[in-house]
Subunit: 300 residues, 2 copies
């Protein structure tokens, strides 16, 4: 039997995922001109599949501050566009060289590398176009802050910096603290921004965002540990991408550094800690609590 | 003897270029951690060389509306970061496959393709971080509008869309109107944004930007025709990149479509027309007038 909380998580996940697909479908209408292939590649990468965990986090965080549904969903859409761009580039032969993503051929397999570069670049720009658009939020201060924080999460002090460390990790074996730092940049920065975005949309000043930031840090790390466990133990069919790649590449992961059991214990501990950071919120944070548990319990 | 106008153009170019290099040096300080190579690659691509035509255009446009120097230069810096990112990706083997850029090895030659993907991505994000930063402009409305217009100029309806058309151009021969559209997206959108950015910084409403937009459209096209002429007639040593590539790739260019003589006449006509669009401005637009002439007279 599923508990009421996980039921409402499943409902929220499903409705957010459907709305994100709808919104991508709208903003990526294929033009009848020589750019058509670019839009088709963006759609291939962005629409269908994916847990839409990031938009769900924005939605759940925005839920704490009475933010309008459109603002939350469009901000989630922007973050998902950014996430998808990073996957398209990361899958390229010169990076992780993956053939399969979300159960479909990666963009460079379906088309070619040039299209993968461009589709990724175009999704990257699209993310900023969405957050800076008055349709997302009427207050220019909110739009400017979203754009600034999104850019930081994407740039050399965020995702791109983490990807760089990931390249270096192929040649050196990082210790636990460097591996943690790598993951905080590569996946943690954008996950943190999801939570922060809800607060920005709700015009909560930075000092009021501390609990959410701590929650974000913990679930970001738990998410990565769970990913490393899936990489070792998961079924490629269910996970939707190749597994066992990090171990094959000789990269340090939380599993290689801690062992399977300690990694699992650590992830569970982080989830408990994340939930504890939400203590100042009531039932309105139940969705965030359910997401925290889901992060380590998922099988893909 | 150089005329006073071109003298002041040379001065402005030199001082803007020096300040852009300084600013890149500041925002791209190399961290003492495994991300160092990423920053070094970004610096390699961004610092030194380059005409800095785009920052100069922002500066010249901002000059019409009493915009502060820091705001204009930082906005120009953001646009240059975006321009440089597009060059790094465009030079990659799967795109134009160029070994030489601004007289130096391209990023993928100096390092490798993975670093080129990441350095480009990081410069792309940096551009948005700079425009959305309160240091660039105190008014959030200005920052949000800069971010929105920059994103449009970069995305599938701007630069990325133009690059896509450029890929298609390798397989089809475009006519003059499709080639013009390609160039308006690939290089014209960002050049237009340079002029518009000056007006946004000066809080000029959209209806007051018509003359500048028309000027931008004309010099953008003239710039591209001049580039096509240099590609045919220029010396790779002076131009700083390989020449004759478009003709070799069988791509339609303004020169292949119009012939050298008509292309040159067309470029000159566009420059005259661009200058005519500035008639409502006085001496404060002399720098823009000088830039328009320079665009077709340059040898690199």
């Amino acid at each position: 039997m599923t508990s009421p909380v996980s039921l409402s998580l499943a409902d929220a996940m499903q409705s957010v995922a459907a709305e994100i697909d709808d919104l991508f479908d709208q903003v990526l209408a294929v033009p009848d001109d020589p750019r058509a292939v670019l839009y088709e590649a963006m759609r291939h990468a962005a629409i269908g599949g994916g847990k839409r965990l990031r938009p769900l986090l924005v939605f759940a965080s925005a839920n704490l501050f009475n933010v309008g549904r459109t603002a939350a969903l469009r901000t989630g859409l922007a973050i998902e566009a950014l996430h998808v761009y990073s996957l398209v580039h990361d899958d390229m032969p010169c990076m992780d060289d993956d053939d399969l993503r979300r159960g479909k051929p990666t963009v460079h397999k379906q088309w070619d590398e040039a299209i993968a570069v461009l589709a990724g670049d175009a999704l990257h720009a699209l993310a900023f176009e969405i957050v800076a658009d008055p349709e997302t939020h009427a207050d220019p201060f909110v739009r400017a802050e979203l754009a600034l924080e999104l850019a930081k999460a994407s740039g050399p002090a965020g995702m791109a910096g983490g990807q760089m460390m990931d390249l270096v990790a192929e040649e050196t074996t990082f210790d636990l603290s460097t591996t943690t730092r790598l993951q905080q940049l590569k996946t943690g920065a954008l996950i943190s921004f999801c939570l922060e975005a809800g607060a920005i949309l709700g015009r909560v000043p930075p000092e009021g965002r501390r609990g959410l930031r701590a929650y974000a840090r913990d679930i970001g790390l738990a998410f990565q540990i769970a990913d490393d466990l899936l990489d070792v133990e998961g079924d490629a069919e269910v996970v939707g991408k190749a597994t066992g790649k990090d171990a094959d590449a000789g990269k340090a992961t939380f599993v290689s550094l801690l062992g399977i059991e300690r990694a699992r214990t650590q992830a569970t501990m982080l989830v408990d800690q994340a939930i504890a950071h939400l203590s100042s919120f009531g039932a309105e944070a139940d969705l965030l609590r359910a997401i925290a548990r889901y992060v380590v319990e998922r099988d893909h």
